[in-house]
């Protein structure tokens, strides 16, 4: 039996969570004695296979086809489901990204397999696996079991450690039949510019109602750029129209777990904490000393963010 990691690439660039999934796959494979295989789907993606070799896969299957140049859920899921049918793996891992979650679910629907989404830990025990997945937006952590020969899981980005390791890294072609796509991709619009993707960022600088208006986000952007960080927002700032919904962190926004989360002018409502409570370090900057953010922040600064953030940016430039 094998453990399969379905790699995620866009324009030939592999996502960071793919390496996290491979590293976790390698740890589980070492514990259970399974072989580790990777599957990469796309067009002109041979170079991805070389990069995947660094993370210990015994075999890398490449489904390379012009019909797979643009990502569509149905074509990619058909390839993944065909690979599952061929390999009957014990476990299939992939990132819980926007694409990964739907791809895993559609493939699981075709292959009739159980899937635990958004896992934060996986343990192998007596040939079976236990999956930990936050439920109710992180207000509780459930432990799940999957019945059936093949189990699917998507992994929360930024939770599983990346480790390079050796593996045979044999590259094989995988050429299943690809159904005609029902969906046509008319355009892909990148909006994040030079900043990292929110769910994959090591550092996130977020702003809330305390910024006083949309122009307040200039401060957050300056701080983010001095740290190479992504920019997030509270629900209040999104609802006020100061920032697009894609930047919202919280129960009805993105769930993130960066190494460092700097919340400025964010009170720390429970629905916001649900989205960032697993960050390794939290910094809270707020003028209200009673703000709930100070109950969870590792480092809190009570004061005027209009003075603190520019000073912080200057200090970071010096350093």
């Amino acid at each position: 039996m094998s453990i399969v990691v379905c790699a995620e690439q866009r324009d030939g660039k592999l996502s960071k969570v793919t390496f996290e999934a491979l590293s976790e796959g390698k740890r589980l494979a070492a514990a259970s004695g399974e072989t580790l295989k990777a599957l990469v789907i796309g067009s002109g993606v041979a170079a991805c296979a070389d990069e995947l070799k660094k993370y210990g896969a015994d075999e890398i299957a490449v489904a390379d086809n012009e019909a797979l140049a643009a990502y569509t859920t149905e074509t990619y899921a058909a390839v993944l489901a065909a690979y599952i049918a061929q390999e009957s793996p014990a476990l299939v891992l992939m990132g819980h990204s926007t694409v990964g979650r739907e791809l895993a679910a559609r493939a699981a629907g075709i292959a009739d397999c159980g899937l635990v989404s958004d896992c934060v830990a996986i343990e192998s025990a007596d040939g079976d696996y236990l999956f930990k997945h936050p439920v109710y937006a992180g207000k509780a952590i459930g432990t799940f079991k999957i019945s059936g020969a093949t189990r699917l899981a998507t992994l929360r980005p930024n939770v599983f450690a990346i480790e390079e390791s050796d593996g045979a890294g044999a590259v094989v072609d995988f050429a299943p039949e690809i159904p005609a796509a029902k969906v046509t991709v008319k355009a892909v619009n990148k909006v994040s510019g030079d900043r990292p993707e929110l769910t994959e960022a090591d550092i996130i600088c977020s702003g809330g109602r305390g910024l006083g208006g949309p122009e307040g986000f200039k401060l957050i952007e300056d701080l983010a750029d001095s740290l190479g960080a992504a920019v997030g927002s509270s629900r209040a700032a999104v609802d006020a129209g100061w920032r697009e919904h894609a930047a919202q962190v919280g129960q009805t926004g993105k769930v993130v777990s960066p190494n460092l989360y700097i919340a400025s002018g964010i009170s720390g409502a429970i629905q916001h904490l649900a989205g960032m409570g697993t960050s390794k370090y939290i910094v809270g900057i707020n003028k209200d000393g009673e703000a709930n953010i100070f109950n969870v922040a590792d480092y809190g600064i009570e004061g005027d963010l209009n003075k603190i953030i520019p000073a912080l940016v200057e200090k970071l430039k010096e350093a």
Binding site: A77, L115, T143, K182, N189, N295, V296
Partner: protein
């Protein structure tokens, strides 16, 4: 146009989570609501009907209590509702729910032009049913959608992807799952609530659908649940702005080692 909306009843987002003695999450005394993302789906269905005509059918899998979420959708303006209610579905996972919905939609409720759903439910956060259902019904699928235009038997949608958006086009029938921001959700009016009481709400069992308990056997089981470890308040840095900023940078560098 026949417009179907798949919904789920969930805990209120303000609900406090309690783990019972059996290690499972207790629903005792919890206020139940229509899943927030499903509100956008119901709204989009009603807006579509208001523009193009037709009927809006809301469907769900759940127990007796789930009728409240269906009635709420009817009060918003949906025309009729179907509840799949069966003891064998009490612990239904995403697989089981999608099998039951797929049977209903390919049989008793066939002939739809578009299916709307929320992009995920805020309880299990699985985000699986729309994609699984699309697989079972072999449908064109667009998830996490923030804009929809239906015209000439086609759907043109904008959806969120990591780091941007995508514009997709597909022929109907198609399945579209809603993200926050798709529309402004209306509140049910008082006449709407009165009317909803008389709108048809069919309750069907697995036998009515021609399914057995085995067909909908769950593949995922929650063995136990626990509350997450509480985060502790750390230290508050005090002093002049220059001082606290210097202290913070020092701590982030040398204690936390995150910059």
């Amino acid at each position: 146009m026949k417009i179907v909306t798949c919904i789920k009843q969930t805990f209120d987002t303000e609900a406090k989570i309690v783990v019972g003695g059996d290690g499972q999450i207790s629903d005792e005394g919890v206020n139940m609501i229509l899943n927030p993302y499903d509100e956008y789906a119901v709204e989009e269905a009603i807006k579509t009907k208001e523009k193009d005509g037709g009927e809006v059918v809301v469907v769900t899998v759940g127990g007796d209590k789930a009728q409240e979420a269906l009635r709420y959708s009817l009060a918003m303006g949906a025309d009729r509702a179907v509840l799949i209610n069966d003891p064998a579905l009490e612990k239904a996972d995403s697989h089981a729910v999608s099998v039951a919905l797929a049977k209903l939609l390919s049989d008793k409720e066939a002939g739809y032009d578009v299916i709307f759903a929320g992009k995920e439910a805020v309880d299990d956060g699985a985000a699986q049913v729309p994609s699984r259902l699309a697989a079972k019904l072999d449908l064109a699928l667009a998830n996490v959608v923030v804009a929809v235009e239906l015209a000439d038997g086609k759907a043109t949608v904008t959806r969120e992807i990591d780091g941007g958006t995508e514009e997709l086009e597909m022929a109907l029938p198609a399945l579209i799952s809603a993200q926050k921001g798709l529309n402004e959700v209306r509140y049910p009016s008082l006449p709407g609530i009165m009317k909803a009481k008389r709108k048809p709400l069919d309750v069907v069992s697995l036998a009515d659908l021609g399914l057995s308990a085995e067909d909908v056997a769950s593949k995922v089981e929650m063995v136990s649940a626990e509350l997450p470890p509480a985060r502790k308040a750390g230290q508050k840095l005090t002093g002049e702005v220059d001082e606290v900023v210097a202290k913070l940078v020092e701590l982030l560098k040398n204690e936390a080692k995150v910059i």
